[in-house]
């Protein structure tokens, strides 16, 4: 009963990760999770050892303390090296300024009076800070409603997508069934299809279903996403079968195993899936643009385009709303950067 050959075969032959095939066998050692949620494209085996075992590993971060021996550290610092060091810092500062400048400019315009915006003078700083743009945005447009719509749609899509993909990920990782390979391939292939291929037919479909123009017209097609299945499968496959076998001997079925054993171990995975789905859905534009018609039901990106259509060149108001629309995601990113970066690197979206 314990550890059937079938299970062994499934876990041992997945993909081409030879090292995982051996590493994930046996007792849960420090190597158990090694490399399984590894960055696609990284071959870390020759280099460092995972320090964040059991979580999604941060690619290329967390070494600031010099935990990874940097080559030049062991040598004496020559003048040439000091010059190179200064040059690197100089380039980094310039790059940082260039990357930040557009965002700085957005914030500046959002808080500038319109005289500044339309002035032909070069002003890198508002002549006076003002909240007028925000007042105009909130008084002339249903901005609070749009914000709420974005929250509602993003929440429901995230809940549906993450739940559905965790379930599917478990099936692909730990269960053996007919047609598994073909279905997995088919499911993954859907991620390559851009919305513009499907939009006309999806539009007719939601019209036929009688949900065109409602939240469900946005939510249901958006929740039909295989994004996350690959990540979920990779994570769950690394969970040792022994943990499940023990529960099986106690008479637990797959549902109980999933709920009581797998899910509690999947917290880092769930965190990554939730963050990425929230980001993706909050920012989504093309499909909500097609699926919604009533301005009261718009999400923030659609509202932003609507505002531009109404206000034309009122750049102050446009930037104020743009700032409101990106703030939740930016804050989330700053708080959970590690998970974001890992997830983005491994799922390959964006």
């Amino acid at each position: 009963m314990a550890h059937s050959p079938g299970d062994r075969g499934t876990a041992g032959t997945h993909g081409t990760d030879h090292d995982d095939g051996t590493g994930s066998r046996g007792t849960p050692t420090r190597d158990t999770f090694r490399g399984t949620l590894r960055q696609p494209g990284a071959d870390n085996d020759g280099g460092t050892r995972s320090r964040t075992r059991g979580t999604l590993r941060q690619p290329g971060a967390d070494n600031d303390g010099g935990t990874r021996p940097f080559v030049q550290r062991v040598r004496h610092v020559s003048p040439a090296e000091r010059a190179a060091h200064a040059a690197r810092l100089g380039i980094a500062v310039v790059v940082g300024l260039v990357m930040m400048f557009p965002l700085y400019w957005m914030v500046t315009l959002a808080f500038s009076p319109n005289v500044d915006v339309f002035s032909r003078e070069l002003n890198l700083w508002p002549s006076s800070w003002t909240l007028d743009n925000f007042r105009r945005v909130f008084s002339s447009f249903p901005t609070a409603t749009w914000f709420g719509n974005s929250v509602v749609i993003t929440s429901i899509v995230t809940f549906l997508t993450v739940t559905v993909n965790l379930l599917a990920g478990y099936a692909f990782a730990k269960l053996s069934f007919r047609g598994k390979g073909v279905i997995f391939l088919l499911v993954l292939s859907t991620m390559m299809i851009p919305v513009q291929v499907l939009m006309v037919a999806q539009f007719r479909l939601v019209t036929e279903l009688g949900i065109y123009g409602t939240f469900w017209a946005v939510i249901l097609p958006s929740a039909a996403s295989a994004f996350g299945i690959f990540l979920a499968r990779q994570f769950i496959i690394a969970i040792p079968d022994e943990l499940m076998d023990a529960a099986k001997m106690d008479g637990a079925g797959n549902v109980r195993i999933f709920l009581q054993i797998i899910l509690p171990l999947c917290k880092p995975l769930i965190a990554v899936l939730v963050l990425l789905t929230v980001m993706y859905q909050w920012n989504d534009f093309a499909w909500p643009l097609i699926a919604l018609k009533d301005s009261e039901l718009f999400t923030l990106p659609i509202g932003l385009i609507f505002l531009r259509g109404q206000y034309g060149a009122d750049y102050g108001a446009i930037m104020a709303l743009a700032l409101i629309s990106i703030l939740p995601i930016v804050l989330m990113f700053l708080m959970f950067q590690k998970y974001f970066v890992q997830g983005l690197a491994r799922s390959g979206i964006r």
């Binding site: 990760d17 478990y170 859907t190 037919a201 999806q202 534009f285 093309a286």
Partner: protein, 318 residues
């Protein structure tokens, strides 16, 4: 181990079920139960994908063989929509723009991503902060980043022209000139995209053993030679993975172009995805839009097949 892990995982997966059928008495009943359970877990996913992805995909094919007549039933016109594509200069213009845009943005994203990854992997004070700054644009909505782009490049009031003017340089006709508009879209795309390339390359660099650089230095290799002969070849798998992701991204770029230029001025920045949207939901020629969609789908399919084949060749070669 290669960067195409995700793709190869997918392609290798069909081998998995066969190896799980272990011989032995009393196992077939269990396997049947296991299959039933597995499909239980898969059903929500398969229902959603079937209804909202596979059904529309098939439907899109059908629509592309019909004539556009507003809504409801339409007559079959065979390949008429596709014939029209061949003689439509805007379609060819959009195809060419898609290609040029991809050919410019992908190598630049790769080069900038690798350069920044090497920089951010070196000894540098405030490295964490710099990384955060470079990542930030990739999490911001395409609409917001594009609107910022509009403001930066606005001909009359854009800050870039003001800066150029203050520096005594000629201003850039960001809206009225096709080439300038195209360039502004490319710059915004790079701004959004370079962070993702850096993430992947940073991970790739972690896998290179420091001893290799040590040995190269003992042999007298300078920094450029080390970069050229150690770093570049050894991040090859990351490059391959990024090549795929970047091509798909550039090929499907919609938000940036739709918001920044709407395909204009004239048709100078029209790409396939914006042209399809325009036909489907502005001029309401939905059958024609479906045909363009199918062309996009087929091009994506061809690219996927080529990279899959290339990936297999790489496996056998290396």
């Amino acid at each position: 181990m290669s960067a195409g892990t995700s793709e190869r995982e997918g392609s290798a997966a069909p081998a998995t079920p066969a190896s799980t059928y272990a011989p032995g008495a009393g196992r077939s009943g269990k396997r049947f139960r296991s299959t039933t359970t597995a499909y239980g877990f898969l059903t929500p996913n398969l229902v959603l994908l079937g209804l909202f992805l596979f059904l529309p995909l098939g439907w899109a094919f059908l629509i592309s063989f019909q004539e556009s007549s507003g809504f409801g039933a339409s007559g079959w016109v065979g390949l008429d929509n596709y014939r029209r594509l061949i003689t439509d200069p805007t379609f060819w213009q959009s195809t060419a723009d898609t290609g040029v845009f991809t050919l410019i943005t992908v190598p630049l994203s790769l080069a900038l991503g690798l350069g920044l990854a090497v920089l951010m992997n070196s000894v540098l004070p405030g490295r964490r902060l710099f990384r955060t700054l470079i990542y930030l644009p990739m999490v911001i909505s395409g609409v917001a980043t594009a609107l910022i782009g509009v403001l930066l490049f606005d001909e009359a009031t854009g800050i870039i022209n003001k800066l150029l003017g203050a520096g005594g340089a000629d201003t850039v006709p960001g809206q009225s000139n096709g080439t300038a508009a195209f360039a502004s879209i490319i710059l915004v795309t790079l701004w959004i995209r370079v962070g993702f390339n850096m993430v992947i390359y940073l991970a790739g660099l972690q896998g290179i053993s420091p001893e290799l650089y040590e040995a190269a230095r003992l042999e007298g290799a300078n920094s450029w030679q080390q970069f050229r002969h150690i770093t570049v070849p050894l991040v090859g798998p990351s490059t391959f993975f990024l090549l795929i992701m970047d091509v798909i991204y550039s090929f499907q770029v919609f938000d940036t172009i739709f918001v920044m230029t709407g395909g204009g001025p004239g048709r100078s920045t029209s790409v396939l995805v914006t042209y399809a949207y325009e036909n489907g939901f502005v001029t309401r020629d939905q059958s024609y839009a479906a045909a363009i969609g199918i062309v996009i789908f087929l091009l994506t399919l061809i690219f996927t097949a080529v990279q899959w084949y290339g990936n297999r060749s790489r496996d056998t070669a290396g």
